[in-house]
Assembly symmetry: C2
Homo-oligomer: 118 residues x 2
């Protein structure tokens, strides 16, 4: 489902404030769980969750459950040009994500990523 991601489809996926910020934030941080995104964006949990579901359905994000948390990251099969695009945008719009990044850092009780021990 991911390979026929046309430019238009990608633009539609990102053409909404919450989805754009979440995607860029995840592109920068690597992986974030729903509660972190909820805190960083200061939006309701259902709202965050619905937009994440949409990004997952488009093939932009992938999710991974770990205990009670669900982590989202960029989909591994995302075309290279999308990666490049996100990198370019991130580099040129650092301050745009400023508030979100601050709230992320100040967040209390951030779940810890598992140090996967088999």
């Amino acid at each position: 489902m991911v390979e026929h991601l046309t430019p238009t489809m990608v633009f539609k996926c990102l053409a909404e404030e919450t989805r754009a910020r979440m995607t860029l934030l995840i592109a920068r941080e690597g992986e974030l769980c729903v509660c972190e995104l909820t805190a960083a964006l200061e939006q309701s949990q259902p709202k965050i969750s619905r937009h994440l579901a949409q990004l997952r359905a488009c093939g932009v994000l992938e999710d991974r459950r770990q205990g009670q948390w669900v982590y989202y990251r960029l989909h591994p099969h995302l075309p290279d040009w999308v990666h490049e695009m996100l990198k370019t945008i991130l580099a040129a719009n650092r301050n745009w994500l400023g508030p979100e990044l601050q709230r992320l850092e100040r967040m209390r009780n951030r779940p810890e990523r598992a140090t996967i021990c088999a």
Copy 2:
């Protein structure tokens, strides 16, 4: 109006098939007039015109009247990251614009750009 083009705003501008294709086509060709775009995309003239107006209002495109034709090009003050983004997308999605490019080349009576002689 152009400098506070946020990522979200740019995505919204391009989140529609006609606008996405026109913008990429113009990014590739440098400058195109309404009748060329109408032929290349095989869409009604009012539809093309309205989307062009929207792209102009956003600050993505600039127009220039020459005789009976109006030429559109990327806005000169477009942020660098948007240029880079368009370049990246163009490079990775050549075939996506294939039909439009073919129709452009096959088009009869294409208006000639003025060789500006002062």
